[in-house]
């Protein structure tokens, strides 16, 4: 075990997988000489050369679009979107091309690739750098979506993604790059997709979250414990595939479920979670399902973003309401 922050875990995993498989090539804006604006690829161009760590023109569409051709040529591209919010400039290539090329070609052209994309708030970035767009991609069949909440999972899920024969959108929480630090297993470490992580045991309320929102859920669980409410925290790890069994079990164990995410409320992935829980665990429920999310307003500029994003207090309020139901 080695204690690492998330960005270190990501960098060392890319390094290890590039050493293991020479088909892996990285492409993105400022990822080479500069090592990425968050240093996630620091030193990799020096080690693997300009052909394998490629500084791309500033055009998200062709970063993803070229990756389609690179994959068809037999390589395993790892395109980086400098920010998930700018995935919109590449959305037609992601959902219209990457996600369905295997289907369109009836298996002839699989698309092994990992699209790395930092996102998430409370780091005072300019507009559109923080938006949590995961639900837009979850509605694009053919893609898988991984959203690690710990450095250990960043390694395990990224390794898994790089070895997956299908395209994976790998979302990295900006806030967690340096703040999230934990024990990362050394050597070979993979985390299978579609297996949620029980981040905390609890018997009254199950709080479901992913990525940096897991930290908020844990803080809320801590506060609730002081009031004698026992909260479990379920970290979904991957949205596609979704661990339906874990959701059912968590709901059955607690009877109350609160979902937390950074995206707006309407049509956020929380809607998918509550619909699933309703379907799978209806008869175990003791309170209406709750969602604690950003508001249905555009992501604001920095001065008020902490009031926009769900925090432990808002989650705690939802937990209390669930207990009173």
């Amino acid at each position: 075990m080695a204690v690492m922050n998330m960005v270190e875990a990501i960098r060392s995993t890319l390094d290890a997988e590039m050493a293991r498989d020479e088909r892996v090539i990285l492409l993105g804006q400022d990822i080479g000489h500069n090592g990425g604006v968050f240093r996630a690829t620091d030193g990799l161009q020096e080690r693997y050369g300009e052909d394998r760590v490629v500084d791309m023109p500033l055009a998200e569409g062709v970063i993803i679009g070229a990756a389609v051709g690179l994959a068809a040529s037999g390589l395993i591209p790892v395109p980086e979107l400098q920010f998930l919010g700018f995935g919109s400039q590449a959305f037609h290539q992601l959902e219209g091309q990457v996600a369905r090329m295997r289907f369109r070609s009836q298996g002839r052209f699989g698309m092994p690739m990992v699209i790395r994309a930092p996102f998430g708030g409370n780091v005072r970035t300019p507009e559109l750098h923080s938006d949590a767009h995961e639900a837009k991609y979850a509605n694009s069949p053919g893609l898988k979506i991984a959203m690690p909440a710990t450095a250990a999972d960043a390694k395990g899920l990224l390794t898994q993604a790089l070895r997956d024969p299908d395209p994976v959108l790998f979302c990295e929480p900006l806030r967690g790059y340096r703040l999230i630090r934990d024990d990362v297993p050394e050597g070979e470490h993979t985390v299978p997709f579609g297996r949620a992580r029980g981040a905390r045991e609890g018997s009254d309320v199950a709080i479901v979250a992913w990525s940096a929102a897991v930290v908020v859920a844990e803080q809320a669980a801590e506060l609730a414990a002081r009031e004698g409410i026992s909260c479990g925290v379920l970290d979904l790890r991957t949205l596609v595939p979704l661990d339906v069994d874990a959701l059912r079990e968590a709901a059955a164990a607690c009877g109350r479920v609160v979902v937390v995410h950074e995206a707006p409320y309407t049509s956020g992935f929380g809607a998918e979670v509550v619909a699933t829980v309703q379907q799978e665990a209806f008869w175990s429920l003791e309170a209406p399902l709750a969602r604690v999310t950003a508001y249905d307003t555009p992501y604001p500029i920095a001065a008020v973003e902490h009031q926009y994003l769900p925090d432990a207090e808002r989650v705690l309020a939802a937990v209390r309401t669930a207990m009173e139901a």
């Binding site: 389609v68 068809a72 290539q93 009836q106 699989g110 979704l242």
Partner: protein, 370 residues
Amino acid sequence: MSRRAPAPPAPPAQALAEPASLEPWTLLAPDGTLAEGYRPSLSDEELLAAFRLMLLSRTVDQRAFSLQRQGRLGTFSTVEGQEASVVGSAFALDPARDWVVPQYRELPAMLRQGYPLTRFFLYFRGHPIGNQMPEGVRVLPFQISLAAQIPHAVGLAWGLRQQGSDAAVMTYFGDGASSEGDAHEAMNLAGVRRAPVVFLLQNNGWAISTPVAKQTAAQSFALRAPGYGFPGVLVDGNDLFAVHEAARWAVERARAGEGPTLIEARTYRLGPHNTADDPTRYVDPDELRARRELDPIVRVRAYLRARRLLSEAEEEQLRSQLMDEVNAAVAEAEAHPAADRRHIFEHVYADPPPRVRAQRERATAGEEVR
């Protein structure tokens, strides 16, 4: 009283990029005579094969059009009028190493690479297997999202070269598709990476009903290429030889590591946009009549006759062979087992997530696996 600002100085000549004009490269005149001093790179045998493919394409168009009207085929787009542009360029490729990245109006190029004609009919009958290129056929699937294929071609070319291949990639797109951001992004990247790719822009005058003058104010699409740092060529797209020589030159450049080339093949769509389109709403009949005079097949035929490479009787025989070939492919496609629910679920993921598996099981319960 306000002082008038002095007139700004005009930029000096060396700092001014001005709109330029180009004339299309022509080697085979409409009457079938060659430009003076020109000797085709195509051997007589290759030329006959190219002509055969042009005729096959026309035969498919006619047969498929009538099948569509009979309700035996879905909406599709004919190649009619663009055979020299598609076939001339495809003949610059070596199907054993080079790739074609198509839009949807380049069937003969796909056939030359080894795509089976039966699959074309299957695809436009709505069977998903029609878009599956058999192993070893170096063609990406039909692309319906205009211009989205252009970045793919660049990535493919770049990836092949990086793995030691000397393959070239030819990608096709229309004058309409050229306006998409993908076209710009892809050509820009290709220039930067010197990708071995040929951008074959078929300017057929129309994007459905939108005339080319509404896609660009430039005098030729080929003029864009210098802006990306590589050469552009304007060719008469109804001239098999000119298209072929331009494509050959571009493919040689690609192989030699000299990077991409943009070719504007200026041609004309003689048919409707597709079988659902009514071009009488927007095409001037006089213009269409004039364009029919420039039919690329007529031109090659005149040359073949003058050279005594193919007599009228031999062509008649060839036509009936081609009709048999097309009918056989239609029959095979119509005899193919119909697509069923399983095709909705297959090949979405290599290993489908549990949800997709469960949906498939529910949807196909009680149906035997074929």
